[in-house]
Symmetry: C2
Subunit: 307 residues, 2 copies
């Protein structure tokens, strides 16, 4: 008998097809039982366009994974929890902190699992980096996260809309790693935010945190792309490269693989564990740093940006 748990996937766009569908297909824990999307679907899987209809028609599906953009996500998550389903959220877990607090309260009241995923935390070298840093004193850390928005989000104007977060959409991945590996939490002390004249969210940001931690996010990087975190400690230097997938200690590569394809399988394995244990996992620290940067940041107007 098939022991796999059934999951419904909501929002069949690029991230769903590139990552979620293959991760579910390769998993011994999960079976994709339905989708819900305005346009997308997955071959051989029952497709809904109306989420209420899915919840109503398929009471056998106890878990819903939401990979639609952050702004519409709350209503779907609330409907799913209201209907007694466990919920897995793509990053960032919502458009606002308060709405995620509301989902947490709902999940807790109903005894359901809520998992706010941060896929970059599952990158190959993050756990080894965390283990190496534990017990060491960090004297300095710097994030360089520079990529080309035209390459990764071609024509997707919503990433510059309010709630799309601008350069914090990739930057929050770096912050999700930073907040996972540092032995002590840090807090933002200042930020410079570059807003294109025609956009509502920043295209670049430079952040300063307590404890001599800094970050440089830029979405205008053509040519080689950079996703590095470098940390100096009393016991040597650590660098995470390729978005947390490669670990260097004192300049020598020691662990990891240059591919992100392990991240989503690890997220689904974790979700299976949480559901079996009846627990939730909602860490808002990366999102708090973004909200703090947008609260405390100094705004700099830069050239208009067109795709």
């Amino acid at each position: 008998m098939d022991q796999r748990m059934k999951v419904a996937l909501v929002g069949i766009g690029k991230i769903a097809l590139d990552q979620h569908v293959p991760a579910i297909a390769a998993s011994a824990d999960w079976r994709l039982a339905a989708t819900c999307s305005r346009n997308g679907s997955v071959e051989h899987v029952q497709a809904f366009t109306d989420f209420a209809a899915l919840l109503d028609a398929r009471p056998d599906i106890k878990v819903v994974s939401l990979c639609l953009p952050p702004v519409p996500r709350f209503d779907y998550a609330a409907m799913a929890l209201e209907a007694g389903r466990h919920v897995m959220l793509e990053k960032p877990p919502g458009a606002t902190l308060a709405e995620v607090h509301a989902l947490q309260a709902m999940a807790e009241a109903k005894g359901l699992t809520l998992f706010a995923t941060w896929h970059s935390r599952m990158a190959h070298a993050v756990a080894p980096a965390k283990a190496w840093l534990a017990g060491r004193a960090v004297s300095r850390a710097h994030i360089t996260w520079r990529e080309d928005v035209r390459k990764w989000h071609p024509g997707q104007d919503w990433v510059f809309e309010p709630g799309g977060m601008g350069v914090f959409d990739p930057g929050i991945n770096a912050l999700s790693i930073l907040t996972e590996i540092l032995p002590k939490p840090v807090h933002l002390t200042g930020a410079e935010l570059e807003f294109p004249a025609n956009r509502d969210t920043p295209i670049a940001a430079r952040l300063s945190f307590s404890g001599n931690v800094t970050a440089d996010f830029d979405w205008r990087q053509e040519g080689p792309q950079t996703w590095d975190i470098e940390v100096e400690t009393d016991g040597g230097r650590l660098a995470l490269r390729m978005g947390g997938n490669v670990l260097e200690i004192d300049g020598k590569a020691t662990a990891g693989e240059n591919t992100i394809m392990g991240e989503y399988p690890a997220l689904y394995a974790r979700m299976a564990e949480l559901v079996r244990q009846g627990r939730s996992d909602v860490d808002l620290a990366p999102m708090v740093h973004v909200a703090d940067a947008l609260t405390l940041g100094r705004r700099i107007a830069v050239d208009a940006f067109e795709f």
Copy 2:
């Protein structure tokens, strides 16, 4: 024998002299034992300009009340907690959410009281309003918070600096009342923020929340000032006027006094209770709504503002 607890007051500016000093002087719980400020002082009270010197010289003072602006406040709070003192924070409790989380962790680790105050919650009519709303279904609520920044913060450019929060400096008072009285929490769904061309923080904001709750904040209101919260329910209409100090039910005034002079005495009474009980009180909900508005808000450029 004098049974009053000794408190040190840090940041002797307008709010300290107008509110904190008289509230402490009138209290049976407290005695102002020292001050720390670059310029200000209080007659007959030992004055320090260096906070480390105060903590070192006066181990008998177990409680510190911080009323300096939010940006420098964290370092003082961390020093006080590190030195084993209970801490009371003016609103907002910090420049960032993450720094307040860090203070919470420090206070908890050391078994100290941390009180993030919201003076408007202590306004005369807030508790009666909360009691009246409990059990009623809210169908609509609207905040109108319009005052003249030139009148209340003459020449204080820091209120428009990053971290000064702009119109959210008064607006957070309204949000502190809203989050206290509503029977169910709400979350922000959209915001329009008016930024003067020469300033880093908004001078006006219009907010939309779930549950048909809206807010209109403006710092350019000349003539009569407005601090109103109006709530429609299945059991009638409630209005809080004068910043939470006057309660109207179905258009008739029923409770309260048209003065804010009760707010700070109530805060100090609450702090005495928290210290005696060994508890903390840190509710970040008002600050989360501001961070959410600055994260999700659409920015509108308006005329430059000069005092």
